[in-house]
């Protein structure tokens, strides 16, 4: 392979003329001004008056939850439960349908997670009838013959997939509804992956309350209390009954004191589906309670059932917990009821919200909760800004002392770097986090590197006795390869961090990768331009470097 001289790949270009320099100068100024315009709205209002703010583009840099305080939650929707609930309801519907079709002698039981077993007592004829019913009326279910002339009914795979997918989208909607009613400015609620929901609530600092509000399934049921049944050890309850508990809570500490059992009918007489409104009201003892209202159909059922059961008790059950079990004094018309319990007013308020917004299609599990209080957020901003300023000033002073006039040029480039980076963050709607501030700081430290590489190379060329113009041109040319390689490798790391990182890692990668790109621009356009300009004015014989 033939030897190449280093300059042959990229020979020193003739320094550009004055007009070209002016053009580049204007371009750099324009980039700087636009960036400044995007950045300025990020500053506190007392520094940027409203009159100026009105003329500026964008809304400034968006701060991450770690800086402004807030709650970051990752929830997982239990899709399996949603699918099981769906099959529970299907089994109920099917039972009703079989009664209506007057197919006698058939019993239905749920089997496994998603199956319904139709037992026919060994009658092939009944199986034929049941099978035909499924085929005609339930196109989304599949029936397979089983032992003793029974049938196993399962959802078709597409249907099962639909129910599971829908559970997540529906949960997102319900949670959005609840948060909207709770009143949080700029919340972020979005699906993440297959079954997760990301919720970000800026400015909210009570994770327990938020989790309670978002994570409550809020399935409301009204169930009759079975007054005849007794809890006796060793004696099984009737199959249509179940035991639910009422938590007795100390209102002062929130500690659970006792659990009071209730024997109730499995079949709910009415569910929260028929609710039209729920709001907080205050009773005669000045205790808050939640007043609810049913739609006409629900109100009718409520009136009928209460009318038939005067003197008995019904349990108000939320997510499997009994809230209260009042005695029915008389038929309750008008479709109104109230949920009492020893609520604080915040609890009553949140309960009303979740009831209005509707139930979640399935329980959700909290996978991650990161909450930053507003004071720590403010501390972090203060610390980040202080560290950035101190670091920046020290670097600027060092460069000035070490490289004199050239150092001043490098410092101007550094300043430009910082302004363009801030402007780019604002213009691209990137989120600035605390690790992001660290990324900015690091680009300051490394941003100097390009200039150091160039200046050290210019010094070397000068030592060889070259003229200033030649030394500057060759210094830039020869440093170019190193700067490119060095930036590319860092950019590879930053890009990988951005693509595969999560949370703090991502915030850091954003500022680092932006910083590197901007740094390349200022190093090759910004500083070179100033040297060319100095050279174009008069032939320099010495260079302050």
């Amino acid at each position: 392979m033939a030897a190449r001289t280093p300059s042959s790949s990229k020979g020193p270009k003739a320094s550009p003329g004055r007009r070209a320099i002016t053009g580049r100068f204007l371009a750099v100024i324009a980039v700087g001004l636009v960036s400044l315009g995007y950045f300025l709205p990020s500053l506190p209002p007392k520094l940027v008056p409203a009159s100026i703010r009105g003329m500026l583009p964008g809304e400034g840099i968006h701060l991450g939850l770690d800086l402004q305080g807030g709650i970051h939650l990752v929830l997982q929707v239990e899709r399996d439960v949603a699918a099981q609930n769906f099959m529970d309801r299907t089994a109920e519907g099917l039972t009703g349908q079989i009664q209506r079709e007057e197919i006698e002698g058939v019993t239905l039981t749920r089997e496994g997670d998603y199956g319904i077993r139709v037992s026919t007592g060994g009658s092939a004829d009944l199986r034929e009838k049941a099978s035909k019913l499924i085929e005609d009326k339930y196109p989304l279910l599949a029936a397979a013959p089983g032992p003793e002339e029974s049938l196993l009914i399962t959802p078709k795979p597409d249907e099962l997939a639909r129910v599971r997918t829908q559970a997540v989208t529906q949960a997102v909607e319900t949670i959005r509804n609840r948060i909207d009613q709770f009143g949080v400015s700029e919340p972020l609620i979005q699906q993440q992956g297959e079954d997760e929901i990301l919720v970000q609530l800026p400015g909210v600092a009570e994770p327990e309350r938020a989790i309670e509000l978002i994570g409550k399934t809020a399935v409301l049921e009204f169930k009759m209390v079975d007054e005849e049944a007794r809890l006796t050890p060793g004696v099984a309850l009737p199959p249509e009954d179940e035991v639910l508990y009422r938590r007795v809570v100390d209102p002062a500490t929130g500690q659970e004191l006792d659990r009071e059992p209730y024997i109730v009918r499995r079949q709910a007489m009415l569910t929260g589906d028929t609710l039209t409104d729920a709001r907080v009201a205050i009773d005669q003892f000045n205790e808050p309670y939640v007043a609810i209202e049913f739609d006409p159909a629900g109100g009718e059922i409520f009136a009928r059932v209460t009318g038939e059961n005067v003197g008995k008790r019904f349990a108000i059950v939320l997510d499997g917990n009994v809230y209260s079990a009042p005695v029915i004094r008389e038929r309750i018309p008008g479709g109104r009821a109230s949920i009492t319990g020893s609520f604080s007013s915040a609890e009553a308020n949140d309960l009303a919200i979740v009831l209005r917004a509707g139930a979640l299609p399935a329980p959700v599990e909290i996978l991650q909760n990161v909450t930053v209080g507003p004071s720590l957020g403010a501390d972090s901003i203060r610390a980040g800004v202080l560290a950035t300023l101190v670091g920046f000033v020290l670097v600027v002073l060092f460069m000035l002392a070490y490289y004199r006039l050239s150092g001043l040029i490098a410092n101007m480039a550094l300043m430009l770097n910082l302004v363009v980076l801030m402007g780019a963050l604002a213009a691209l709607h990137a989120t600035l986090t605390l690790p992001g501030i660290a990324g900015i700081l690091l680009t300051i430290g490394m941003g100097v590197d390009s200039n150091v590489l160039i200046f050290e190379r210019i010094r070397e060329e000068l030592r060889l006795g070259k003229t200033v113009r030649l030394a500057v041109d060759q210094g830039y040319d020869r440093a170019f390869v190193s700067i490119m390689d060095a930036h590319m490798t860092t950019l590879i790391t930053a890009a990988v961090l951005f693509l595969f990182g999560s949370g703090p890692v991502k915030g850091f990668a954003v500022t680092l990768s932006l910083g590197i790109v901007i740094n390349l621009f200022t190093a090759f356009v910004g500083t070179k331009m100033v040297f060319d300009w100095m050279n174009a004015r008069r032939r320099l014989t010495t260079l302050s470097i």
Partner: protein, 308 residues
């Protein structure tokens, strides 16, 4: 002209035996930590291990022993405590692979509220990580480390030749392992921010090595009867002032970050501070030495000009 480093002519390559000894030791610490991590014995942060951390800011500082006693009474004898001197801030970490529904954060606050009724606090931060997320974050971090290494080796292999790429990658890996080992010895925990710091360090250290390699490549193109070792020494000496000055300016901002950046970023900045010392050392003493000790047929860049 102010010069920290005048024109030097140090025989760096000649000291490669000492360097390999020092580096061997650093790598040993790092590998030991990695083995500990694989065996599940390392001090993993809650973002990887799962668990709860609560930072409380008390009106008056709380004695750490008293805090430990209060937590033990509240059923958190396994809690780890960290105080920030001169402030009322207290960081409580409970590593349990439990679900968040168990209200660990609330119970910790309740314990302090009950035991110290006249020293109120505000909650600075609460972090609860479920075990499945911890596993995923571990996997993501591993993937990020792997991919950035592959990307970097590929880039350098294309720009230089394969043995430079491998040498640069090994030198970088060396730095990361060294800091990981030192952090483990210092009893710091391994969390997502540390991984970020280590990857940043990888980028920086590589950057440093590439600048040296670039100069060596340039020198190789016009060497006159020099051995590879002499060419390398010359290259390292030529870029030495740049290496030192860049390390210095980066260290300036990192010191600012360690001192004033706040508690969240303290360990992050400290890892980089140590890392850049190691990274600078490795780009001078280790990376080129690795190319030199590599036996075998030289590639296109080293080979060219040897047989004109």
């Amino acid at each position: 002209m102010m010069e920290l480093i005048a024109k030097t002519n140090i025989d760096f390559m000649g000291k490669r035996r000492y360097a390999l000894l020092v580096s061997g030791l650093l790598i040993a610490f790092g590998l030991f930590t990695v083995v500990q991590m694989l065996m599940g014995k390392a001090n993993l942060g809650i973002d990887f291990a799962g668990g709860t951390s609560v930072q409380l800011n008390f009106e008056r500082p709380v004695e750490i022993d008293e805090a430990r006693r209060i937590l033990a009474t509240g059923g958190f004898a396994d809690a780890e405590l960290q105080e920030f001197t001169g402030t009322g801030k207290l960081l409580v970490r409970v590593k349990r692979t439990n679900t968040i529904q168990e209200h660990v954060a609330t119970d910790i606050q309740a314990a302090f509220k009950a035991a110290l009724p006249d020293n109120p606090f505000v909650v600075d931060s609460v972090t609860e990580i479920g075990p499945s997320i911890g596993k995923r974050l571990q996997k993501d971090a591993g993937l990020a480390i792997l991919l950035s290494f592959i990307g970097i080796v590929a880039y350098i292999a294309v720009r230089f030749e394969f043995r430079f790429g491998v040498a640069a990658a090994v030198a970088t890996f060396h730095d990361v392992l060294a800091v990981l080992g030192l952090f483990a010895i210092m009893g710091k925990e391994i969390n997502l921010l540390l991984v970020t710091a280590l990857l940043t360090l990888a980028g920086y250290s590589l950057n440093d090595t590439v600048v040296v390699f670039d100069r060596i490549r340039e020198n190789l193109r016009r060497r006159h009867r020099e051995t590879l070792e002499e060419v390398m020494n010359r290259g390292i000496n030529q870029v030495l002032s740049r290496t030192i000055i860049t390390a210095l300016t980066t260290q300036i901002v990192l010191v600012a970050l360690v001192l004033w950046g706040g508690e969240v970023l303290h360990d992050f900045a400290l890892a980089l501070l140590i890392g850049i010392v190691v990274g600078t050392y490795s780009s001078i003493f280790v990376a080129s030495a690795l190319v030199l000790v590599w036996r075998g047929r030289p590639g296109r860049i080293i080979a060219q000009e040897t047989n004109p």
